[in-house]
Protein backbone atom coordinates (compact mmCIF):
# COMPACT_ATOMS: atom_id res chain seq x y z
CA UNK A 1 0.00 0.00 0.00
CA UNK A 2 1.36 3.36 -1.00
CA UNK A 3 1.31 6.02 1.59
CA UNK A 4 -0.78 8.88 0.19
CA UNK A 5 0.58 11.57 2.42
CA UNK A 6 4.20 10.45 1.99
CA UNK A 7 7.25 12.48 1.14
CA UNK A 8 7.50 13.88 -2.30
CA UNK A 9 10.31 15.64 -4.10
CA UNK A 10 9.91 19.39 -4.32
CA UNK A 11 12.24 19.50 -7.26
CA UNK A 12 10.17 17.02 -9.28
CA UNK A 13 6.99 18.84 -8.43
CA UNK A 14 8.34 22.09 -9.85
CA UNK A 15 9.75 20.24 -12.81
CA UNK A 16 6.36 18.80 -13.75
CA UNK A 17 4.75 22.21 -13.83
CA UNK A 18 7.40 23.62 -16.06
CA UNK A 19 6.54 23.61 -19.71
CA UNK A 20 9.17 22.24 -22.01
CA UNK A 21 9.21 23.61 -25.51
CA UNK A 22 9.44 21.03 -28.27
CA UNK A 23 12.08 21.16 -30.96
CA UNK A 24 9.77 22.63 -33.58
CA UNK A 25 8.87 25.59 -31.37
CA UNK A 26 12.50 26.16 -30.45
CA UNK A 27 13.42 26.14 -34.12
CA UNK A 28 10.66 28.61 -34.91
CA UNK A 29 11.84 30.94 -32.16
CA UNK A 30 15.41 30.69 -33.41
CA UNK A 31 14.28 31.53 -36.94
CA UNK A 32 12.34 34.52 -35.64
CA UNK A 33 15.45 35.75 -33.85
CA UNK A 34 17.46 35.49 -37.07
CA UNK A 35 14.76 37.26 -39.10
CA UNK A 36 14.75 40.11 -36.56
CA UNK A 37 18.41 40.77 -37.39
CA UNK A 38 17.33 41.91 -40.86
CA UNK A 39 14.70 44.38 -39.63
CA UNK A 40 14.99 48.02 -40.61
CA UNK A 41 13.18 49.44 -37.61
CA UNK A 42 11.99 48.18 -34.25
CA UNK A 43 9.55 50.94 -33.48
CA UNK A 44 6.53 52.54 -35.05
CA UNK A 45 6.65 55.27 -37.61
CA UNK A 46 6.95 58.51 -35.59
CA UNK A 47 4.93 60.31 -38.25
CA UNK A 48 2.32 57.58 -38.35
CA UNK A 49 -0.05 59.33 -35.98
CA UNK A 50 -0.16 62.58 -37.89
CA UNK A 51 -3.64 63.58 -38.84
CA UNK A 52 -4.22 64.69 -42.39
CA UNK A 53 -5.14 68.35 -42.44
CA UNK A 54 -4.09 71.45 -44.25
CA UNK A 55 -1.03 71.87 -42.11
CA UNK A 56 0.07 68.25 -42.44
CA UNK A 57 3.44 67.81 -44.12
CA UNK A 58 3.54 66.68 -47.70
CA UNK A 59 5.63 63.54 -47.67
CA UNK A 60 6.19 63.20 -51.33
CA UNK A 61 8.08 66.41 -51.71
CA UNK A 62 8.23 67.40 -55.30
CA UNK A 63 11.90 67.14 -56.01
CA UNK A 64 11.51 66.63 -59.71
CA UNK A 65 12.81 69.15 -62.15
CA UNK A 66 10.17 71.26 -63.75
CA UNK A 67 11.79 71.70 -67.12
CA UNK A 68 11.57 69.18 -69.93
CA UNK A 69 9.09 66.37 -70.09
CA UNK A 70 6.74 65.70 -67.28
CA UNK A 71 8.23 63.36 -64.73
CA UNK A 72 6.43 60.36 -63.38
CA UNK A 73 6.12 60.56 -59.62
CA UNK A 74 7.75 58.21 -57.18
CA UNK A 75 4.42 56.45 -56.65
CA UNK A 76 4.35 55.36 -60.25
CA UNK A 77 7.52 53.36 -59.75
CA UNK A 78 6.36 51.98 -56.44
CA UNK A 79 3.79 49.83 -58.19
CA UNK A 80 5.42 49.45 -61.54
CA UNK A 81 8.29 47.16 -60.49
CA UNK A 82 6.90 45.75 -57.29
CA UNK A 83 7.31 42.01 -57.53
CA UNK A 84 7.13 39.27 -54.98
CA UNK A 85 10.27 37.28 -54.36
CA UNK A 86 8.69 34.28 -56.09
CA UNK A 87 7.98 36.33 -59.19
CA UNK A 88 11.59 37.54 -59.27
CA UNK A 89 12.94 33.99 -59.14
CA UNK A 90 10.51 32.82 -61.79
CA UNK A 91 11.44 35.65 -64.11
CA UNK A 92 15.13 35.05 -63.52
CA UNK A 93 14.77 31.42 -64.63
CA UNK A 94 13.20 32.58 -67.89
CA UNK A 95 15.73 35.32 -68.61
CA UNK A 96 18.89 33.50 -67.50
CA UNK A 97 18.24 29.78 -67.79
CA UNK A 98 20.83 27.35 -66.41
CA UNK A 99 22.92 29.96 -64.67
CA UNK A 100 23.91 30.56 -61.08
CA UNK A 101 21.29 32.71 -59.39
CA UNK A 102 21.02 34.60 -56.12
CA UNK A 103 19.79 31.64 -53.99
CA UNK A 104 22.56 29.35 -55.32
CA UNK A 105 25.24 31.78 -54.18
CA UNK A 106 24.50 31.40 -50.47
CA UNK A 107 27.41 30.04 -48.45
CA UNK A 108 27.14 26.39 -47.40
CA UNK A 109 26.11 25.28 -43.91
CA UNK A 110 28.77 25.42 -41.19
CA UNK A 111 31.05 22.43 -40.76
CA UNK A 112 32.48 23.43 -37.40
CA UNK A 113 30.53 22.55 -34.24
CA UNK A 114 28.27 25.30 -32.96
CA UNK A 115 29.66 27.54 -30.26
CA UNK A 116 27.48 28.61 -27.37
CA UNK A 117 27.43 31.95 -25.65
CA UNK A 118 25.54 32.94 -22.54
CA UNK A 119 22.29 34.63 -23.48
CA UNK A 120 22.65 37.04 -20.57
CA UNK A 121 26.30 38.06 -20.43
CA UNK A 122 27.73 36.87 -23.77
CA UNK A 123 30.61 34.79 -22.44
CA UNK A 124 31.22 31.20 -23.56
CA UNK A 125 28.99 28.89 -21.57
CA UNK A 126 28.07 25.30 -21.01
CA UNK A 127 24.56 25.05 -19.56
CA UNK A 128 21.20 24.83 -21.29
CA UNK A 129 17.83 26.05 -20.08
CA UNK A 130 15.56 23.02 -19.78
CA UNK A 131 12.47 24.95 -20.77
CA UNK A 132 13.50 26.87 -23.85
CA UNK A 133 16.99 25.69 -24.79
CA UNK A 134 18.73 29.03 -24.24
CA UNK A 135 22.31 28.93 -23.01
CA UNK A 136 23.68 30.37 -19.78
CA UNK A 137 26.99 30.32 -17.95
CA UNK A 138 26.18 30.63 -14.28
CA UNK A 139 23.38 30.49 -11.72
CA UNK A 140 23.05 34.25 -11.67
CA UNK A 141 22.67 34.35 -15.46
CA UNK A 142 20.19 31.49 -15.27
CA UNK A 143 18.11 33.38 -12.76
CA UNK A 144 18.19 36.48 -14.93
CA UNK A 145 17.12 34.43 -17.92
CA UNK A 146 14.25 32.81 -16.00
CA UNK A 147 13.04 36.14 -14.69
CA UNK A 148 13.17 38.03 -17.95
CA UNK A 149 13.22 36.10 -21.17
CA UNK A 150 12.41 32.45 -20.69
CA UNK A 151 9.04 31.93 -22.39
CA UNK A 152 8.32 35.62 -22.04
CA UNK A 153 10.30 36.58 -25.01
CA UNK A 154 9.34 36.00 -28.59
CA UNK A 155 11.26 37.09 -31.65
Amino acid sequence: MANKGGRESGRLKVQEKRRILDDATRQRRANQAVEALYNDNFHDDPHGDLVANKKAPKFHDTLYTKKGKKSKGADYYKFKYRKTYGQMIEYEEIVRPNQTHYPDAAAPAPTLPKRYFCCACGFPCSYTCITCGAKFCSVSCQKLHMDTRCLKWTA
Binding site: V34, L37, Y38, D61, Y77, A105, A107, F123
Partner: protein, 395 residues
Protein backbone atom coordinates in the same frame (compact mmCIF):
# COMPACT_ATOMS: atom_id res chain seq x y z
CA UNK B 1 38.86 63.20 -71.48
CA UNK B 2 35.11 63.40 -70.96
CA UNK B 3 34.05 62.35 -67.50
CA UNK B 4 31.54 59.68 -66.58
CA UNK B 5 28.99 59.71 -63.80
CA UNK B 6 29.87 56.86 -61.43
CA UNK B 7 27.14 55.73 -59.04
CA UNK B 8 27.73 52.84 -56.64
CA UNK B 9 24.26 52.02 -55.39
CA UNK B 10 25.11 50.54 -51.99
CA UNK B 11 22.35 49.47 -49.64
CA UNK B 12 23.77 51.69 -46.88
CA UNK B 13 25.41 54.50 -48.77
CA UNK B 14 25.52 55.56 -52.40
CA UNK B 15 28.97 56.51 -53.61
CA UNK B 16 28.52 59.05 -56.37
CA UNK B 17 30.52 61.65 -58.28
CA UNK B 18 31.87 62.40 -61.73
CA UNK B 19 34.93 60.39 -62.66
CA UNK B 20 37.17 63.46 -62.80
CA UNK B 21 36.72 64.01 -59.07
CA UNK B 22 39.24 62.57 -56.64
CA UNK B 23 36.73 61.16 -54.18
CA UNK B 24 33.04 60.31 -54.40
CA UNK B 25 30.34 61.78 -52.22
CA UNK B 26 28.86 59.35 -49.71
CA UNK B 27 25.10 59.71 -49.44
CA UNK B 28 23.08 57.42 -47.15
CA UNK B 29 20.71 55.40 -49.32
CA UNK B 30 17.66 55.97 -47.19
CA UNK B 31 14.97 58.39 -46.15
CA UNK B 32 14.70 59.14 -42.45
CA UNK B 33 11.94 60.40 -40.24
CA UNK B 34 12.87 62.13 -37.01
CA UNK B 35 10.73 62.34 -33.91
CA UNK B 36 11.73 65.92 -33.32
CA UNK B 37 10.85 67.24 -36.77
CA UNK B 38 7.47 66.18 -38.00
CA UNK B 39 7.38 68.65 -40.84
CA UNK B 40 9.94 67.09 -43.10
CA UNK B 41 11.71 63.97 -44.26
CA UNK B 42 15.46 63.68 -44.44
CA UNK B 43 16.71 62.22 -47.69
CA UNK B 44 20.26 60.91 -47.79
CA UNK B 45 22.80 63.30 -46.31
CA UNK B 46 20.13 65.85 -45.39
CA UNK B 47 20.22 64.04 -42.05
CA UNK B 48 23.20 66.24 -41.21
CA UNK B 49 20.71 69.10 -40.83
CA UNK B 50 18.72 67.18 -38.24
CA UNK B 51 19.25 68.47 -34.73
CA UNK B 52 18.03 65.42 -32.87
CA UNK B 53 18.85 62.12 -34.51
CA UNK B 54 17.45 59.98 -31.70
CA UNK B 55 14.78 57.46 -32.58
CA UNK B 56 15.22 57.89 -36.32
CA UNK B 57 12.83 55.86 -38.41
CA UNK B 58 14.50 54.41 -41.47
CA UNK B 59 12.90 53.94 -44.86
CA UNK B 60 15.33 51.81 -46.84
CA UNK B 61 14.93 51.25 -50.59
CA UNK B 62 16.88 48.01 -50.45
CA UNK B 63 16.38 44.82 -48.52
CA UNK B 64 18.92 42.00 -48.68
CA UNK B 65 20.62 43.87 -51.50
CA UNK B 66 17.57 44.00 -53.76
CA UNK B 67 15.67 47.17 -54.53
CA UNK B 68 12.23 46.54 -53.08
CA UNK B 69 10.90 50.03 -52.43
CA UNK B 70 11.12 51.71 -55.78
CA UNK B 71 9.40 54.90 -54.73
CA UNK B 72 12.03 55.42 -52.04
CA UNK B 73 14.87 54.56 -54.37
CA UNK B 74 13.55 56.97 -56.99
CA UNK B 75 13.26 59.76 -54.40
CA UNK B 76 16.84 59.20 -53.23
CA UNK B 77 18.14 59.23 -56.79
CA UNK B 78 16.12 62.34 -57.56
CA UNK B 79 17.73 64.03 -54.57
CA UNK B 80 21.21 62.90 -55.64
CA UNK B 81 20.68 64.22 -59.15
CA UNK B 82 19.23 67.50 -57.89
CA UNK B 83 21.44 70.58 -57.70
CA UNK B 84 21.72 70.21 -53.92
CA UNK B 85 23.79 67.09 -54.22
CA UNK B 86 25.48 65.94 -57.39
CA UNK B 87 23.74 66.96 -60.62
CA UNK B 88 24.63 65.36 -63.94
CA UNK B 89 24.08 66.07 -67.58
CA UNK B 90 23.28 62.62 -68.87
CA UNK B 91 22.97 63.81 -72.46
CA UNK B 92 26.75 64.06 -72.58
CA UNK B 93 27.94 62.08 -69.59
CA UNK B 94 27.85 58.29 -69.64
CA UNK B 95 26.53 56.70 -66.47
CA UNK B 96 28.19 53.80 -64.68
CA UNK B 97 25.77 52.10 -62.32
CA UNK B 98 27.13 49.61 -59.79
CA UNK B 99 24.99 46.87 -58.27
CA UNK B 100 25.54 43.73 -56.15
CA UNK B 101 26.32 40.30 -57.62
CA UNK B 102 23.40 38.16 -58.78
CA UNK B 103 20.97 41.01 -58.93
CA UNK B 104 17.62 39.93 -60.30
CA UNK B 105 16.78 40.72 -63.91
CA UNK B 106 13.49 42.29 -62.88
CA UNK B 107 15.38 44.75 -60.65
CA UNK B 108 17.94 45.43 -63.38
CA UNK B 109 15.26 46.19 -65.93
CA UNK B 110 13.62 48.63 -63.57
CA UNK B 111 16.90 50.43 -62.99
CA UNK B 112 17.63 50.63 -66.71
CA UNK B 113 14.16 51.95 -67.44
CA UNK B 114 14.51 54.70 -64.87
CA UNK B 115 17.94 55.73 -66.12
CA UNK B 116 17.05 55.64 -69.81
CA UNK B 117 13.50 56.91 -69.77
CA UNK B 118 13.34 59.09 -66.69
CA UNK B 119 16.86 60.52 -66.53
CA UNK B 120 17.38 60.27 -70.30
CA UNK B 121 20.77 58.72 -70.04
CA UNK B 122 22.71 58.71 -73.31
CA UNK B 123 24.94 55.76 -72.47
CA UNK B 124 24.67 53.43 -69.53
CA UNK B 125 26.90 50.75 -68.05
CA UNK B 126 25.64 48.39 -65.36
CA UNK B 127 28.31 46.39 -63.58
CA UNK B 128 28.63 44.53 -60.27
CA UNK B 129 30.54 46.48 -57.61
CA UNK B 130 32.99 43.63 -57.07
CA UNK B 131 33.89 43.53 -60.77
CA UNK B 132 35.11 47.10 -60.52
CA UNK B 133 37.10 46.30 -57.39
CA UNK B 134 38.78 43.57 -59.43
CA UNK B 135 39.30 45.99 -62.33
CA UNK B 136 40.93 48.48 -59.97
CA UNK B 137 43.16 45.77 -58.52
CA UNK B 138 44.13 44.54 -62.01
CA UNK B 139 45.15 48.07 -63.01
CA UNK B 140 47.33 48.34 -59.90
CA UNK B 141 48.78 44.83 -60.29
CA UNK B 142 48.85 44.08 -64.01
CA UNK B 143 50.96 40.97 -63.42
CA UNK B 144 48.35 39.22 -61.27
CA UNK B 145 46.46 36.63 -63.33
CA UNK B 146 43.83 35.94 -60.66
CA UNK B 147 42.14 37.89 -57.93
CA UNK B 148 39.86 37.08 -55.04
CA UNK B 149 37.48 39.88 -54.08
CA UNK B 150 36.02 40.03 -50.59
CA UNK B 151 33.20 42.55 -50.49
CA UNK B 152 31.87 43.06 -46.97
CA UNK B 153 28.87 45.30 -47.34
CA UNK B 154 25.74 46.33 -45.48
CA UNK B 155 23.32 43.60 -46.57
CA UNK B 156 25.73 40.74 -47.06
CA UNK B 157 29.34 39.81 -47.72
CA UNK B 158 30.58 38.25 -50.92
CA UNK B 159 33.67 36.30 -51.88
CA UNK B 160 34.28 36.10 -55.62
CA UNK B 161 37.08 34.44 -57.56
CA UNK B 162 38.35 36.02 -60.79
CA UNK B 163 40.57 34.07 -63.15
CA UNK B 164 42.21 36.06 -65.96
CA UNK B 165 39.87 38.95 -65.30
CA UNK B 166 36.79 36.78 -65.59
CA UNK B 167 34.57 35.96 -62.64
CA UNK B 168 33.53 32.38 -62.05
CA UNK B 169 29.86 32.54 -60.98
CA UNK B 170 30.18 29.09 -59.39
CA UNK B 171 32.95 30.41 -57.14
CA UNK B 172 31.05 33.55 -56.11
CA UNK B 173 29.47 33.00 -52.72
CA UNK B 174 27.58 35.07 -50.23
CA UNK B 175 27.25 35.18 -46.45
CA UNK B 176 24.10 36.87 -45.23
CA UNK B 177 25.99 38.87 -42.63
CA UNK B 178 26.76 42.52 -43.24
CA UNK B 179 26.77 45.79 -41.38
CA UNK B 180 23.04 45.70 -40.82
CA UNK B 181 23.08 42.35 -39.02
CA UNK B 182 25.99 43.50 -36.87
CA UNK B 183 24.27 46.74 -35.85
CA UNK B 184 21.01 44.93 -35.12
CA UNK B 185 22.81 42.31 -33.05
CA UNK B 186 24.63 45.00 -31.08
CA UNK B 187 21.33 46.79 -30.47
CA UNK B 188 19.77 43.54 -29.31
CA UNK B 189 22.43 42.61 -26.77
CA UNK B 190 22.87 46.14 -25.42
CA UNK B 191 19.10 46.47 -25.03
CA UNK B 192 18.95 43.27 -23.02
CA UNK B 193 22.00 43.91 -20.88
CA UNK B 194 22.00 47.65 -20.28
CA UNK B 195 19.74 50.18 -21.90
CA UNK B 196 16.94 49.92 -24.43
CA UNK B 197 18.48 51.15 -27.66
CA UNK B 198 16.31 49.23 -30.11
CA UNK B 199 15.11 52.51 -31.65
CA UNK B 200 18.55 54.08 -31.91
CA UNK B 201 19.89 52.58 -35.13
CA UNK B 202 21.70 55.78 -36.04
CA UNK B 203 23.52 56.06 -32.73
CA UNK B 204 24.25 52.35 -32.38
CA UNK B 205 25.74 52.27 -35.84
CA UNK B 206 28.19 54.91 -34.64
CA UNK B 207 28.86 52.90 -31.49
CA UNK B 208 29.67 49.92 -33.70
CA UNK B 209 32.00 51.98 -35.87
CA UNK B 210 33.76 53.59 -32.90
CA UNK B 211 34.09 50.66 -30.50
CA UNK B 212 34.06 47.30 -32.21
CA UNK B 213 37.11 45.38 -33.33
CA UNK B 214 37.83 41.91 -34.64
CA UNK B 215 39.43 39.65 -32.09
CA UNK B 216 42.62 37.87 -33.03
CA UNK B 217 42.35 35.36 -30.22
CA UNK B 218 38.79 34.97 -29.08
CA UNK B 219 39.53 32.79 -26.05
CA UNK B 220 42.16 35.14 -24.69
CA UNK B 221 39.96 38.18 -25.25
CA UNK B 222 37.03 36.56 -23.46
CA UNK B 223 39.31 35.68 -20.55
CA UNK B 224 40.60 39.23 -20.44
CA UNK B 225 37.18 40.82 -20.55
CA UNK B 226 36.14 38.75 -17.52
CA UNK B 227 38.73 40.54 -15.38
CA UNK B 228 38.29 43.80 -13.52
CA UNK B 229 39.39 47.11 -15.01
CA UNK B 230 43.16 47.57 -14.69
CA UNK B 231 43.90 44.05 -15.97
CA UNK B 232 41.10 44.26 -18.51
CA UNK B 233 42.28 46.49 -21.33
CA UNK B 234 39.23 45.76 -23.49
CA UNK B 235 36.51 47.46 -21.48
CA UNK B 236 35.51 50.96 -22.58
CA UNK B 237 32.74 53.35 -21.86
CA UNK B 238 30.81 54.90 -24.70
CA UNK B 239 29.39 58.31 -23.96
CA UNK B 240 26.06 58.55 -25.76
CA UNK B 241 25.09 61.75 -27.54
CA UNK B 242 22.25 63.76 -26.02
CA UNK B 243 21.81 65.97 -29.12
CA UNK B 244 21.86 69.16 -27.07
CA UNK B 245 25.47 69.51 -25.93
CA UNK B 246 26.86 66.43 -27.63
CA UNK B 247 26.01 65.57 -31.23
CA UNK B 248 28.12 62.49 -31.62
CA UNK B 249 29.08 59.97 -28.96
CA UNK B 250 32.67 59.02 -28.23
CA UNK B 251 34.75 56.31 -26.62
CA UNK B 252 35.91 56.94 -23.10
CA UNK B 253 38.74 54.88 -21.63
CA UNK B 254 38.58 54.16 -17.94
CA UNK B 255 41.93 55.77 -17.10
CA UNK B 256 40.46 59.20 -17.83
CA UNK B 257 38.38 61.01 -15.21
CA UNK B 258 34.84 59.62 -15.26
CA UNK B 259 32.07 61.40 -17.12
CA UNK B 260 29.15 61.79 -14.75
CA UNK B 261 26.43 63.81 -16.40
CA UNK B 262 25.94 61.82 -19.64
CA UNK B 263 24.28 58.53 -20.46
CA UNK B 264 26.83 55.90 -21.25
CA UNK B 265 27.21 52.30 -22.30
CA UNK B 266 29.74 49.85 -20.96
CA UNK B 267 31.34 48.05 -23.86
CA UNK B 268 33.14 44.91 -22.81
CA UNK B 269 32.87 41.61 -24.70
CA UNK B 270 30.36 43.34 -27.01
CA UNK B 271 33.32 45.07 -28.63
CA UNK B 272 34.60 41.92 -30.29
CA UNK B 273 31.71 39.45 -30.13
CA UNK B 274 29.69 41.53 -32.60
CA UNK B 275 32.16 41.57 -35.55
CA UNK B 276 32.86 37.92 -34.68
CA UNK B 277 29.62 37.13 -36.52
CA UNK B 278 31.42 37.74 -39.82
CA UNK B 279 33.67 34.80 -39.04
CA UNK B 280 31.04 32.64 -37.32
CA UNK B 281 27.51 33.48 -38.52
CA UNK B 282 26.28 30.37 -36.72
CA UNK B 283 26.79 32.14 -33.37
CA UNK B 284 23.45 33.87 -33.91
CA UNK B 285 21.87 30.97 -35.77
CA UNK B 286 22.61 31.98 -39.37
CA UNK B 287 23.44 28.58 -40.81
CA UNK B 288 26.40 29.54 -42.99
CA UNK B 289 30.16 29.19 -42.82
CA UNK B 290 32.28 32.19 -41.86
CA UNK B 291 34.27 34.51 -44.08
CA UNK B 292 37.63 32.77 -43.75
CA UNK B 293 36.12 29.36 -44.44
CA UNK B 294 34.28 30.85 -47.39
CA UNK B 295 37.54 32.16 -48.86
CA UNK B 296 38.94 28.63 -48.58
CA UNK B 297 35.73 27.15 -50.00
CA UNK B 298 35.70 29.47 -53.04
CA UNK B 299 39.36 28.86 -53.80
CA UNK B 300 38.78 25.12 -53.61
CA UNK B 301 36.03 25.47 -56.21
CA UNK B 302 38.55 26.86 -58.70
CA UNK B 303 40.99 24.83 -60.81
CA UNK B 304 44.15 23.85 -58.98
CA UNK B 305 46.53 25.91 -61.12
CA UNK B 306 44.67 29.11 -60.17
CA UNK B 307 44.65 28.56 -56.42
CA UNK B 308 48.07 29.87 -55.56
CA UNK B 309 47.37 33.06 -57.53
CA UNK B 310 44.01 33.52 -55.84
CA UNK B 311 45.53 33.24 -52.36
CA UNK B 312 48.22 35.72 -53.31
CA UNK B 313 45.81 38.34 -54.63
CA UNK B 314 43.06 38.87 -52.10
CA UNK B 315 41.51 42.33 -52.16
CA UNK B 316 39.04 43.63 -49.60
CA UNK B 317 36.33 46.19 -50.24
CA UNK B 318 33.18 47.34 -48.50
CA UNK B 319 32.60 49.41 -45.38
CA UNK B 320 32.19 46.48 -42.98
CA UNK B 321 35.85 45.52 -43.52
CA UNK B 322 36.99 48.61 -41.62
CA UNK B 323 36.99 47.03 -38.15
CA UNK B 324 40.47 47.10 -36.61
CA UNK B 325 42.01 43.65 -36.78
CA UNK B 326 39.85 42.48 -39.69
CA UNK B 327 42.72 41.76 -42.07
CA UNK B 328 44.93 40.18 -39.42
CA UNK B 329 42.18 37.84 -38.31
CA UNK B 330 41.29 36.95 -41.88
CA UNK B 331 44.92 36.23 -42.62
CA UNK B 332 45.27 34.11 -39.51
CA UNK B 333 42.18 32.02 -40.26
CA UNK B 334 42.82 31.62 -43.98
CA UNK B 335 46.43 30.71 -43.24
CA UNK B 336 45.21 27.97 -40.91
CA UNK B 337 42.86 26.56 -43.56
CA UNK B 338 45.00 26.83 -46.68
CA UNK B 339 47.68 24.35 -47.57
CA UNK B 340 51.13 25.61 -46.53
CA UNK B 341 52.45 25.54 -50.10
CA UNK B 342 50.42 28.67 -50.85
CA UNK B 343 51.45 32.20 -49.99
CA UNK B 344 48.66 34.39 -48.73
CA UNK B 345 48.58 38.06 -49.43
CA UNK B 346 45.62 40.20 -48.40
CA UNK B 347 45.32 43.83 -49.45
CA UNK B 348 43.16 46.28 -47.55
CA UNK B 349 42.97 49.52 -49.53
CA UNK B 350 43.26 52.78 -47.58
CA UNK B 351 39.55 53.43 -48.18
CA UNK B 352 37.74 50.13 -48.79
CA UNK B 353 34.36 51.87 -49.04
CA UNK B 354 35.28 53.77 -52.19
CA UNK B 355 37.71 51.27 -53.70
CA UNK B 356 35.12 50.00 -56.17
CA UNK B 357 34.05 53.52 -57.03
CA UNK B 358 37.69 54.25 -57.92
CA UNK B 359 37.51 51.19 -60.16
CA UNK B 360 34.54 52.79 -61.90
CA UNK B 361 36.59 55.92 -62.35
CA UNK B 362 39.36 53.88 -63.99
CA UNK B 363 37.03 51.91 -66.27
CA UNK B 364 35.63 55.16 -67.65
CA UNK B 365 39.14 55.90 -68.95
CA UNK B 366 39.47 52.46 -70.53
CA UNK B 367 40.04 52.76 -74.29
CA UNK B 368 37.31 50.18 -74.85
CA UNK B 369 34.89 51.83 -72.45
CA UNK B 370 32.39 52.77 -75.13
CA UNK B 371 32.12 49.15 -76.27
CA UNK B 372 30.85 48.18 -72.80
CA UNK B 373 27.98 50.66 -72.60
CA UNK B 374 24.46 50.51 -73.96
CA UNK B 375 23.30 53.69 -75.67
CA UNK B 376 19.84 55.15 -75.57
CA UNK B 377 19.31 54.37 -79.25
CA UNK B 378 20.22 50.72 -78.73
CA UNK B 379 17.92 50.49 -75.73
CA UNK B 380 14.98 51.97 -77.58
CA UNK B 381 15.70 49.82 -80.62
CA UNK B 382 16.13 46.45 -78.96
CA UNK B 383 14.61 46.82 -75.51
CA UNK B 384 15.88 45.39 -72.22
CA UNK B 385 17.29 42.29 -73.95
CA UNK B 386 20.32 44.30 -75.09
CA UNK B 387 21.22 44.91 -71.43
CA UNK B 388 21.44 41.19 -70.77
CA UNK B 389 23.44 40.51 -73.90
CA UNK B 390 25.98 43.19 -73.27
CA UNK B 391 26.35 43.28 -69.48
CA UNK B 392 26.27 39.56 -68.74
CA UNK B 393 29.28 39.22 -71.04
CA UNK B 394 31.27 42.05 -69.45
CA UNK B 395 33.19 41.10 -66.38
Amino acid sequence: MPSAYVLDNGAYSIKVEHSNAAQPKLVPNCIMKAKSEKKRLFIGDQIDDCRDASGLFYLLPMNKGLIVNWDLQKSVWDYILSKDCCPANFAETPCIYMEPYFNYASVQEGVAEIFFEEYECQSFLRIPTGDLAEYHYRKQNPAAPCCLVIDAGYSFSHVAAYINGKRDPKATKRIDVGGKVLTNHLKEIISYRQLNVMEETYVMNQVKEDCCFVSLDLKADFAKSKLKYPENDIVREYILPDFTTLRRGYVHTLDQPPVVDQQKLRMNNERFSVPELLFHPSDVGIQQIGLAELVHHCVELCPEEARSHLYENIIITGGTSQFPGFVDRLYKDVRALASDEYNINITLPPDPTTYSWQGGKLISQDPEFYSFVVTKEEYYEEGPIILLERFDGVS
